[in-house]
């Protein structure tokens, strides 16, 4: 169902993808300056390579979203139209993810959301985000 290349761990992100497979949204915390980032070889703020993997809150808000109508990939032919977003996690990093449990009319920038890890295809995991009522941004 999901084409090749959808999940492509590299050195910096292998722990991130292993976390997803275990149902966790892990992010990096810099041991030197405390900054959070999704996955990198160095801290984007201080270039330290002392990076620890920590459990992210999995909570954040919709920084922006789109409604995909065109089928760019046959694997998504039965899914269109669907909502996808750039989600900003509470800790700061942003990531691309599908939105679930919200209609196009309800979706809005700033909407509080929380992550659920889903298995898109055998061995391919991704976070999706659903609205979180009453959460502050």
């Amino acid at each position: 169902m999901i084409a090749q290349g959808t999940s492509a761990p590299d050195n910096a992100s292998s722990a991130f993808f292993e976390g997803l497979a275990a149902g966790q949204l892990k992010i990096q915390r810099c041991g030197a300056c405390g900054a959070h980032q999704l996955a990198g070889d160095f801290c984007f703020k201080c270039r330290s390579s002392e990076l620890d993997w920590v459990d992210g809150s999995g909570r954040g808000h919709v920084h922006s979203f789109v409604m995909v109508h065109s089928v760019f990939d046959p694997a998504f032919a039965h899914e269109v139209p669907y909502l996808a977003a750039l989600v900003e996690l509470r800790e700061g990093p942003r990531l691309f993810a599908r939105l679930r449990g919200v209609t196009p009319e309800e979706a809005r920038v700033g909407m509080p959301v929380s992550a659920v890890i889903v298995e898109l295809a055998a061995g391919v995991f991704a976070p999706v985000f659903a609205p979180l009522e009453g959460m502050d941004q």
Partner: protein, 390 residues
């Protein structure tokens, strides 16, 4: 000190009908550029090649030297900065001819995304490789440039109250210019009703918010000002140039989609050219999507943040407007040859060869390129007059 001028322009293909390969198109464009300048292949001592992100070295690369059997190269490379590749390479050519490292440099971009039996969507569905967390975009169903720029457009709508009609105004202005460009792919006038009735691709983007692929090639011949002055066509001088690459991850507090890259490149280019923003007569922006034009106007400071939408809605960028923008129809209605589209139309206007669409004031023309998701930016300030007005 910069001493570089564009002496030749070669344009080949620009067609939605599949035909020659990218390498053959590139070779023909280089020859056409030399012909336009009144130069011979034996004069060429520099070749700078760029290609689309989805294309391979085998399709178009260093092999172009052998295709054309160029014997005299002292400068040869393939360059890549995503959509900013074309201007980035012209900048290298300008530095090379200014320093004397090369004397006549061809910069060429070619693309042949359309194969027989393929749709535009097929062409744009070719995935760019994405590794690590960047590959999450595909799991999220965000394919092509349209989805990423639509995210930026939605963010802009949220921050400044922009509507579909604002994006429509950009599409209509581009089409109005294209009706006067014989090389434009889409030349039928476009109305707001037609724009609003067009199908959604990745909302908020509709069909007319997105450029369509073409097969073609454009080559630009760069040489020193003195040499260019003796050639067939009037020289178009490179007065200034700049780049910017905000290479930080998408994080809280960073508004990537608001075209922050353009701002830093502008400062460098205007300072080098010795001009002010108000001296620019015409803009050729990288408008693969309607929103890009609005973002560029604001990044360069032609409008304050959030005011670009009203600027375009008021007709300022179309024919007869106060700031002519994308006067050949841009990517949207002209032809989508990535970074070379703004460059080619800037040369045409600066030379005064625009025919029915020629702008009266065309002394200083700005051309810009954007690559990635507002990751890379490059610009040129061009003029038919070597010295600036100040």
């Amino acid at each position: 000190m910069l001493n570089a001028a564009i002496a030749g322009l070669g344009m080949i293909g620009l067609s939605r009908v599949p035909g020659a390969t990218a390498r053959l198109l590139a070779a023909r464009a280089v020859l056409a550029g030399l012909e336009d300048a009144g130069l011979d292949v034996s004069d060429l001592d520099g070749l700078l090649v760029c290609r689309s992100g989805g294309a391979s070295e085998a399709e178009l690369g260093l092999n172009l030297q052998r295709t054309l059997a160029l014997p005299n190269l002292s400068l040869l490379q393939v360059g890549y900065a995503e959509g900013a590749s074309s201007i980035a390479l012209i900048q290298v050519a300008a530095l090379a001819v200014s320093s004397g490292m090369a004397r006549v440099v061809a910069c060429v971009f070619a693309d042949a995304p359309l194969a027989a039996g393929q749709t535009a969507r097929d062409a744009f569905s070719r995935r760019k490789p994405a590794n690590g967390v960047d590959s999450l975009r595909y799991a999220a169903g965000l394919f092509g440039g349209a989805s990423l720029y639509a995210l930026a457009a939605r963010r802009y709508m949220h921050l400044y109250g922009a509507s579909s009609e604002h994006f429509g105004a950009v599409a209509i202005a581009a089409r109005a210019w294209a009706t006067m460009n014989p090389l434009a792919v889409f030349r039928q006038p476009l109305t707001m009703e037609e724009y609003l009735a067009s199908r959604l691709i990745v909302a908020p983007f509709r069909l007319y918010d997105c450029a369509m692929p073409v097969n073609g090639a454009i080559a630009v011949i760069v040489t020193a000002a003195e040499r260019a002055a003796d050639l067939k066509k009037p020289p178009i001088h490179i007065l200034g140039m700049g780049q910017a690459h905000p290479g930080i991850p998408d994080q809280k507090g960073f508004e990537r989609g608001l075209c922050v890259a353009g701002r830093a490149a502008k400062e460098t280019a205007l300072r080098m050219a010795g001009i002010e923003l108000a001296d620019i007569d015409i803009c050729q922006f990288y408008d693969a999507f309607t929103y890009s034009t609005i973002a560029s106007l604001e990044a360069y400071g032609f409008c304050a943040a959030g005011e670009g939408k009203d600027f375009v809605a008021g007709g300022a960028i179309g024919p007869g407007g106060t700031l002519p923008v994308n006067t050949g129809g841009g990517h949207l209605s002209g032809y989508y040859l990535q970074g070379m589209t703004p460059v080619s139309e800037a040369i045409v206007q600066a030379r005064g060869e625009g025919g029915a669409r020629q702008c009266g004031k065309h002394e200083i023309v700005l051309a810009t390129n954007d690559g990635g998701r507002f990751d890379h930016h490059a610009c040129l300030v061009l003029s038919h007059t070597r010295r600036s007005r100040r």
